[in-house]
């Protein structure tokens, strides 16, 4: 089982790839899934492999909050950051209540993200 730092679940493939590449340049290992189901499948088949999950809300198959709920069922300790272009206040409150660690509106600052990842790594260790 390959240990990675971040699992990106986002249907914007180019965005996910680009973010993945930028993070890789900063020494962060990433894997991208382009819909909710494949993301959940990846988590199920690689338990404990990801340090952090970046989750979009508007996914083509399952809405992000439901994906979040499933992730929390699988691994409640796994930190999940919501990154979305469509976040409403209701979404924010709902996600935070369901255990999401952060709620970001796109576009997001990469340095901020890496800093938070380092925090998460530190907590993980």
């Amino acid at each position: 089982m390959k240990q990675i730092d971040i699992l990106i679940i986002d249907d914007e493939t180019k965005f996910a790839d680009m973010l993945g590449r930028r993070l890789s340049l900063r020494g962060v290992t990433c894997h991208a899934c382009y819909d909710g189901q494949s993301g959940l499948d990846w988590i199920r088949s690689n338990p404990g492999a990801a340090t952090l999950i970046l989750l979009d809300l508007k996914l083509p198959d399952i809405y992000g909050t439901q994906v979040l709920a499933h992730i929390k069922e699988i691994d409640p300790a796994l930190p999940v950051f919501i990154i979305t272009g469509h976040g409403t206040r209701e979404d924010e409150t709902a996600c935070l209540a369901m255990g999401a660690s952060k709620f970001f509106l796109k576009p997001v600052n990469i340095d901020q993200l890496t800093t938070l990842l380092n925090h998460a790594r530190g907590e993980g260790k």
Partner: protein
């Protein structure tokens, strides 16, 4: 919305009459023409309530007049009948007495003056009203005379009364003056001597006796009783038509033995009725017509006055009712107007807030849609920059790195705009909780600690004692203060001052004053600073939404914001908020 006070001031009563049509309000008002409604309501109320009253009064008046008329006719009829009966009796009695005398006594004793004088004195004693007696033979020469006048030896052959009386058994003359020059009536009875020659017993009657008798029927001054002859000449004095022997200016009524009452068609002022009867005795028809003239207005004065008083009372009642009707209508229509006005205002507010919500939703939608491509641009440009930085290629090509930085900066500005637009939408829901404003201010100031130290800005906070914790939306208040303090920091040059004052305005408000010694706002811009997208900070990356959002947020928290500024000296923003925010009804 503020409730209107229940006690409505006087000047507000007629609001609807002086209201200026407002195109915005008019489209939401149920009724457009209030003065018309007012007039219609007054008319309907007046007609329905006053018409029965007026009708009853009218009918009552008619009834009074009718009964007055019939009563008058009845009275006149009664007086006429009574007077006629007395009159007839008076004449008949005397005629019969004379008849008795000529039938009882022989002719020779009648022509004895002494005897005749005795008979006269007996008649005066028994019946009264006789002036003299005389015996006149068929040729008209007077055979005997008893009485006060010296008429012996007179010949009456040519006198019309003699001609008439010699032709019939009994005769009663009109009033005339004759030889003696005094108005009198003649009663003549014809008889025969033992030799078959006709002779006449003539008596003259004192008219005074007749007048006294007639005037005894005058019940009041408004009744006039007099005699006419058949050619309309007055026989006894009349209070209305004048002296004896003048023609009366009235039509001679048609012959009738029985009492008749005529009601001439005449105006109300001088209305009168006339009762009359031809006087006919059993033995002879007399030339007399008994006339009774009765004035209506005065005779029935009491009744008519009562009617008038009644009319006045009704008129007064109508007036009072009209006043009440007018007042009530005015009040009701004005209430209707105020309610309608309030409704229209509410509708407009609702429409405005709906418009705002629409704009909000639209901008939120746009912001959301833009966020994704924006994120992609951000990452792509970021990746390009990363490539240069991490791979080391072209690291020296400063121009490309700078251009990429420009793109990233532009993206970041777009991001600020979209997040602020989303903030606009988020204004619409409010969550009330208890907020300690002092702590909030200190929290916000701590964000700027580094900037404060770096720019050497002198920050003072003056918190008045006993400022209560307020019930409001923490997030929105934080946003308001953040925006204002950020603005202040941007305006302040090095070594400037920022003063924040928090005070309690008893009983229900607090005020937060944020005073900077920055560049100030030119007067022409002061009015526009709350407009969306108005900004003077183009070069400093302003979106122009900050103060507009702040203004909207303060309104949302039911507060007010005031700004005073002088260019080059500084700006003071004062935010006033209620201690306890009222929950809004959901639109």
């Amino acid at each position: 919305m503020k409730r209107r006070p229940l006690i409505i001031k006087n000047q507000r009563w007629l609001d609807f009459l002086f209201h200026r049509p407002n195109i915005h309000l008019a489209s939401f008002q149920t009724i457009s023409n209030y003065p018309r409604i007012w007039i219609i309501s007054i008319l309907i109320l007046a007609v329905t309530s006053l018409s029965p009253l007026v009708m009853a009064t009218f009918i009552n008046n008619r009834l009074i007049h009718k009964s007055v008329d019939s009563e008058l006719v009845l009275q006149t009829d009664r007086v006429t009948s009574n007077a006629k009966r007395s009159m007839r009796f008076f004449l008949e009695e005397r005629l019969n007495a004379l008849r008795f005398i000529v039938n009882e006594l022989p002719y020779y004793s009648l022509i004895d003056n002494e005897h005749l004088t005795k008979i006269l004195s007996n008649l005066k004693l028994g019946f009264g009203g006789f002036t003299d007696l005389s015996i006149i033979d068929a040729d008209g020469s007077q055979e005997a005379y008893a009485g006060p006048f010296n008429l012996e030896g007179k010949n009456y052959k040519t006198q019309s009364w003699f001609i008439q009386s010699i032709e019939r058994d009994n005769f009663i003359s009109e009033v005339f003056t004759g030889y003696r020059d005094i108005p009198h009536i003649i009663i003549a009875v014809r008889s025969q001597t033992a030799y078959g020659r006709h002779f006449i017993l003539r008596a003259t009657l004192d008219t005074q006796r007749l007048m006294d008798m007639l005037s005894s029927y005058k019940t009041n001054v408004h009744t006039d009783i007099f005699l006419l002859n058949r050619s309309g000449i007055i026989q006894t004095p009349s209070t209305i038509f004048g002296k004896v022997f003048t023609p009366a200016p009235i039509d001679i009524p048609a012959f009738s033995d029985a009492t008749q009452v005529i009601t001439p068609e005449n105006n109300e002022e001088n209305a009168y009725v006339i009762g009359y009867s031809y006087i006919v005795t059993e033995a002879v028809t007399t030339p007399f017509i008994l006339m009774v003239h009765k004035k209506k207005s005065d005779v029935m004065g009491t009744w008519l006055n009562l009617g008038k008083t009644f009319n006045w009372i009704i008129g007064f009642c109508c007036l009072v009712m009209m006043v009440i009707i007018t007042l009530v209508s005015t009040f009701m229509v004005n209430q209707l107007y105020l309610a309608d006005q309030a409704k229209a205002e509410t509708m407009i507010k609702m429409e405005q807030s709906q418009q705002l919500a629409c704009i909000g939703q639209l901008s939120a939608g746009i912001a959301h849609e833009i966020n994704n491509p924006l994120a992609l641009i951000n990452e792509t440009a970021g990746y390009l920059k990363d490539l240069y930085q991490y791979t080391g290629e072209h690291r020296s090509d400063k121009e490309i790195t700078e251009l990429l930085d420009d793109i990233l900066e532009a993206v970041s500005r777009c991001g600020t705009i979209t997040s602020q637009l989303l903030g606009f939408v988020r204004q619409f829901d409010v969550q009330i909780s208890s907020v300690d404003v002092e702590k909030l201010i200190n929290g916000i100031l701590s964000f700027h600690q580094k900037e404060t130290e770096y720019k050497g800005i002198h920050v003072t906070t003056a918190i008045a004692p006993n400022v209560p914790a307020i019930e409001t939306d923490r997030g929105k208040l934080q946003q308001i203060l953040l925006n204002l303090i950020n603005n202040a920091f941007q305006a302040i040059e090095a070594n400037g001052c920022l003063d924040i004052m928090l005070s309690h305005l008893p009983p229900k408000k607090i005020s937060i004053e944020i005073k900077d010694t920055g560049c100030g706002i030119p007067e022409e811009n002061l009015k526009r600073i709350h407009e969306p997208f108005f900004s003077t900070k183009k070069e400093k990356r302003g979106t122009g939404l900050g103060l507009s959002i702040t203004y909207g947020l303060v309104k949302k928290l039911q507060g007010a914001i005031r700004v005073e500024s002088s260019e080059g000296i500084g700006t003071i923003f004062t935010v006033t908020l209620p201690v306890k925010m009222q929950k809004e009804e959901k639109a």
